[in-house]
């Protein structure tokens, strides 16, 4: 043990209770998971950590990667703050971690992308890879695309395109009302909605298009309900999340409007739990996701879902976390070494069996995963009801239709710079 190690140990303890350990052969492959583990939305971060640990456990049970090395998730708290996200990347680098994972919050994501880009340019022998499992801003794989960033979730455009495709198939949808949050994400949902409804649902008329002040600032949604009614809308399409969708749904349901909701995030378990199933059913809640656990074509994964339900007392909701880990494991084995650049090249163009008998592809042009999406509807008449926090919510999700991978393969403007 030399003095420099002692010094680092001492300082590490002082400045974060972490030490830099020397590398040895059976050292695990560590992934830094940068998410909010404290603060108001820590529950999302903690749930994400549980899911990652569960997915990683499956890989480790099979013998790990690189001929016997285990994968280990290292949680790094960003308290939902953009600067702290950057700091945690620095900390991960200090700890010798070469791959960071993040997904909650686009502002955190953009900072990680930019920092990783700069760091890798300035330190070519100490590069870092960033796996994004949920930050959906389309630009991340367009103008802002980076060789070091891979997205394992459909972006805003893909999700809206999937919803628009399904709405186009449904002759009952005639008058659509758009409500979105007045900030970057809401505005891009609004633009995408206008674009893809015009392209894919030609019989539909957009009868209203509102932006609201985001993040729970609007307490009373009655005037919006009145506008929806006044515009004779039969369908609401919204990207709202959190209190902005909970209150909207409650207000629409209590006013007794007969409309159906097509949503990006209305199906999140926390939202369903807060809205209550009565109101959720009243607005015929629909959601877009990458998979549904009760679908027949997911039979091979049923044991996986069951053991998750046993362990965490909630239904497996985010399959993308599973395939993020699985595809990473496959890529590092293909690369044969824990080297970000080699792993990145292995991930480019990688295929992976997806839902609905289709293959998922990590598109090399922009590092955006290409996958089919499912549109599902809240229903009481389902074989498996949704469990959350150990409680049967009394409803489940019923597949309405699939939108194929080909239908969701959208052009990209990315001009990838490779090292």
């Amino acid at each position: 043990m030399n003095t420099s190690y002692l010094r680092k140990l001492l300082l590490g303890t002082l400045l974060g209770g972490l030490s830099v350990l020397p590398a040895y052969a059976a050292e695990p492959v560590r992934l830094g998971l940068i998410e909010p583990f404290s603060g108001p939305i820590a529950s999302i971060g903690l749930e994400t950590l549980d899911n990652f640990n569960f997915a990683v456990e499956a890989v480790n049970k099979r013998g790990g990667v690189l001929g016997g090395r285990m994968i280990e998730m290292v949680p790094l708290d960003n308290a939902m703050n953009a600067e702290k996200s950057t700091q945690q990347v620095k900390k991960a680098i200090d700890m010798g971690i070469r791959v960071v994972v993040q997904g909650v919050g686009s502002s955190n994501a953009i900072n990680i992308i930019e920092y990783v880009n700069k760091h890798n340019k300035r330190n070519p022998d100490q590069t870092v890879l960033y796996l994004n499992h949920a930050a959906v801003t389309t630009e991340f794989t367009n103008e802002l695309c980076s060789f070091w960033h891979f997205r394992f979730d459909a972006n805003v455009d893909m999700k809206v395109a999937a919803l628009a495709t399904q709405m186009g198939r449904d002759p009952k949808v005639k008058n659509v009302y758009l409500i979105n949050q007045n900030y970057a994400f809401g505005k891009s949902t609004q633009e995408a909605s206008n674009k893809y409804l015009a392209e894919r649902a030609k019989h539909i008329k957009i009868v209203g298009d509102d932006l609201i002040v985001p993040f729970g600032k609007v307490q009373d949604f009655t005037p919006y309900v009145a506008k929806i009614k006044g515009a004779n809308a039969d369908t609401v399409l919204t990207g709202n999340w959190g209190p902005d969708i909970i209150r909207l749904v409650k207000a629409v349901a209590s006013a007794g409007l007969n409309v159906q909701f097509y949503t990006l995030y209305g199906g999140l378990p926390t939202t369903v739990n807060a809205v209550g199933t009565e109101d959720g059913m009243a607005v015929h809640m629909k959601q877009v996701t990458e998979q549904l656990v009760e679908d027949d074509d997911r039979k091979d994964l049923q044991p996986y879902f069951e053991s998750y339900l046993d362990k965490f007392k909630r239904t497996w909701y985010s399959d993308r976390i599973r395939f993020t880990v699985e595809m990473f494991a496959k890529a590092i084995d293909k690369a044969g070494k824990e080297d970000p650049e080699a792993i990145a090249r292995a991930l480019e163009g990688m295929t992976f069996p997806g839902p609905h008998g289709q293959t998922m592809v990590m598109r090399p042009d922009d590092h955006q995963i290409q996958l089919p999406m499912v549109i599902s509807e809240m229903s009481r008449d389902v074989p498996k009801r949704f469990i959350y926090e150990g409680k049967d919510l009394g409803i489940g999700w019923k597949t309405m239709n699939w939108v194929s991978r080909e239908d969701l393969t959208l052009p990209t403007t990315c001009k990838m710079e490779r090292p």
Binding site: P40, I41, A42, S43, N182, V207, G208, D210, L211, I212, V213, G216, K217, V218, Q219, D220, T222, P223, Y224, V225, A226, K227, K229, G230, A231, N232, P243, I246, R247, K250, S254, A255, G256, L257, T270, T271, N273, A274, G276, E278, E389
Partner: protein, 332 residues
Amino acid sequence: MAGCVGLSAALCQEGVSVVQVLLFSLFNGLLYGMLLFMLSSGLTLIFSMMGVLNFAHASFFMLGAYFAYEISRLIGFWPALFFAPLGAAVIGAVIERYGLRTVHKFGHVAELLFTFGLAFVIEELVQMIWGKTNKPYLIPSSMDFTLFTWQGLDYSAYRVFMLLTSVGIFVALYWLLTRTRVGLIIQAALSHPQMVGALGHNVPRIFMYTFGFGCGLAAIGGVLGGNVLGTEPAMAIQLGPIVFVVIVIGGLGSLGGALIASIFIGILTNAAVSYDVPFGPFFALFGVSSATDIGNDLVRMTSGSVSSVLPYLIMVLMLILRPRGLFGNRDV
């Protein structure tokens, strides 16, 4: 259809007059405004008595909602409507006795800071006890039926019950303050504390009861509003500042002012959305064009897209032009 914007555009097509839209905004604004009044009445009572702007007031609103959630799960909504505010009032009184009173001697800034910190602590304690996710506190099924339908929207019995409750609170408070002996003592303690003390009344104890009572009023708002707005740890911080705005506009220490301002803010935010007035022509006066990106953002702004920010604008203007508010008898 020329001249029709926002809701009026949609309703114009159905041949509904602008007057009806106005009536509609007024009624919905009243419903929301009276919820705000339940909070602002307690806050203004505390302020007029003690000179303390209670930053943590909305936290008691939140406590009311969480207590009601627990109690209504166990023994039903009606007991919750009684016991939840009672619990919040007791907690409020204890905080006044052992916290605020200690700080009182350091002046108003210290009191403001104390309640600011208190709001923070209560939010964290709620997270500690009930967790960080939403709680499914729902409208009692006994009142979850449509009472009447107006312009195609259903109004549930519960919303009307909320309205009646807050009207009842206003009448009761007004009667209490102006027609009873207790009210006289309270008003006297406000203007001449030494004199009231000399007459043998325990002024600090009056303060304690007032603070607790005000917190209880906020908690009634929580019991009634928690199931409409959603019960979560962030509900206090989302509603807190707007209640401040209400009592500043109404005039600190004026119960009537709080009532008028609550209804005004309720109607304003409703009408801003219903009419959805575009700001483009306004910015055009200053030569802003949609040619630049920023200009485009400004020109595309409508009153609906910024509705919840308007109250702050009005508060700032009010403080600059008339710091005592609409009906206040003294400056902030």
